[in-house]
Amino acid sequence: MSDIFNARIGRRTVLGAGLAGASMLAMPAVLRAQDKSLKVGVYGGYFKDSFDKNIFEDFTKTTGIAIESIAEPTGEAWLVQLEQAAKAGAAPADVSMMSQVAMLKGQSTDLWAPLDLSKLPNAVNLIERFVNKYPDGRVAGIGAVSWYITLVSNTDVFKDAPTSWSALWEKDKEDKLGLLALVSNSFLLEVTAKTFMGGTNALDTDEGIIKALEKLAELKPNVRLWYRDEAQFEQALKSGEIPMGQYYHDVTGLAIADGFHVRSTFPKEGGIQDSGCWALSRASKKTEEAHVFINYMCQPAIQATLSRKVGTSPTVQRGLTDLTDQEFAAVSSDVEPIVPRYDLYQTKSDFLNQKWTEMIAG
């Protein structure tokens, strides 16, 4: 009788101990998953894959914070989603990589949680224009990556490299150019202003913008393709079908490495430097982790890794990185860049879009 009794106790004890043991083992994992993780939005496809492989894994090893990367759509669809989610108190991603125009639009509704520079000691490494600030001085975002759009040409068709953006306007380029189709992603107004009007400040007034558009209208006979889709132009550039235009410097570099007869030139007026920021949604509850993440990304060594593996231009000063001249030239240039007038795309976006569309389609 007592044997049976003992046996019963024994079984219960074992079961109980097992359960307790199992929950003890499980607890830390649950805690870790809840406390130390961060959802990060990056552009889907090549960008996300490269970040997952080259950056996020090491970040988790170093800091113990797990990263759940989320593929963002390009364009402004992601901004709209973040905005609507924030209104409902939710954050589909804590930290997101956002375009400069999206940063400004988010600022208008206080979408971005202000960042605390004292928690971002590495931010001193940044080139100053890569700290994105609210009008009242609060920090809205920190430069994540930057890239260049340059003057590209097919070397079989054009033996000599062009030296200035003004090459686009020359008579012998008739029906030979591929340019980006939208005012807000081609930045051709800035190019025109810098090349012919003494600088992008010429766009401060509506008259200045109209003058730049009139100059751009002279380009129309030369343009064979106004492209929205990169693949469309890249193919035509490689084959010489459309032998000149504006394109991404790093992707052109990859094409050269693959043996295609193309070149990317930084004209004397500079390449167009566009960039993305890390920004924290105000609905996020992971403020601490977000600061750790952004601070990590501002290290010169990480920026150098990005240049080598993803092909982006560093947002920190060049001297701080260990990039060789060749590695640096593959993603950037010391020629002073044309920095887009992002403010215009926020304050005058409808005016610009209307005039631009009328200019190219009219």
Binding site: L182, S349, D350, N353, I360
Partner: protein, 284 residues
Amino acid sequence: MRREPPQRLVDYGPLVFPAGMLTVFFVVPFATMIAVSFFQRQQGGFYTPAFVFDNYARFLSLFFGKVLGFSLFLAIAVAVACVVVGIPFTYLLSRSKRNVQIVWLVALLSILSLSEVMIGFAWSTLFSRTAGITNLLVWLGLMEQALALTPSFTAVMTAMTYQAFPYTILVLYPALVRLDPTLTEAARTLGASPVKAFFTVVVPVLRNTILATLIMVFIFALGSYLLPQLLGRPQHWTLSVLITDQAIYQSNMPFAAAMAVFLVLVSLALVGLAFYAGRQKEAK
């Protein structure tokens, strides 16, 4: 078996599912779009619920009028091209052997498995200077030098007609197969040539089918935004291209919605007009 008209409420039961689907996937989104088209655009931000006519006012300009006009013209041209090529083709197809019919139909329907992107890129390659069909003509000695045929209106038309052609056949084929062969035989015995018999007997008999095909291809072509972009110059961009620009790149939902509502209204009006014209003719 005779079909009874529904007597009791339960008889309407089978309608619940389609009606539900129609509400969830058509009525609700469309109503949302109409509502958004009256919202206030916040430049440099998003939009706020309101009831303003600004978005429609912006659309009422010569520039957008021209774009709308071109979009309608393009859709009508594609519809007419599809029918003009489709009727003789389907007529001959329906008169050919069964095996031949099957091969043609399978080949035509397989076009439907191609995405618009693939069709666009394929035609832009075929029309290119470096790899296109003109190289073949040069090789045959018919041309001096290879030419680029894109971007052009012809390129847009060709690709859009190609894309809509399988649908044209799908609508025309059943009607033509069921066409009573004795009708043309009678015409022939009365002395009509095959061509005359085709135009005076076959075409009038098919009038309603032809009208239905025209309308279907017209509506299908009106929504096209990728092919005009890939194969046309900016003046060949349709209203759908500009709607996409506003919605995706400018995040100006109210204006995009207003343009879309306008496009739907105009196309509904045209379809109604076509039906009305068809009715009138039948009544005579």
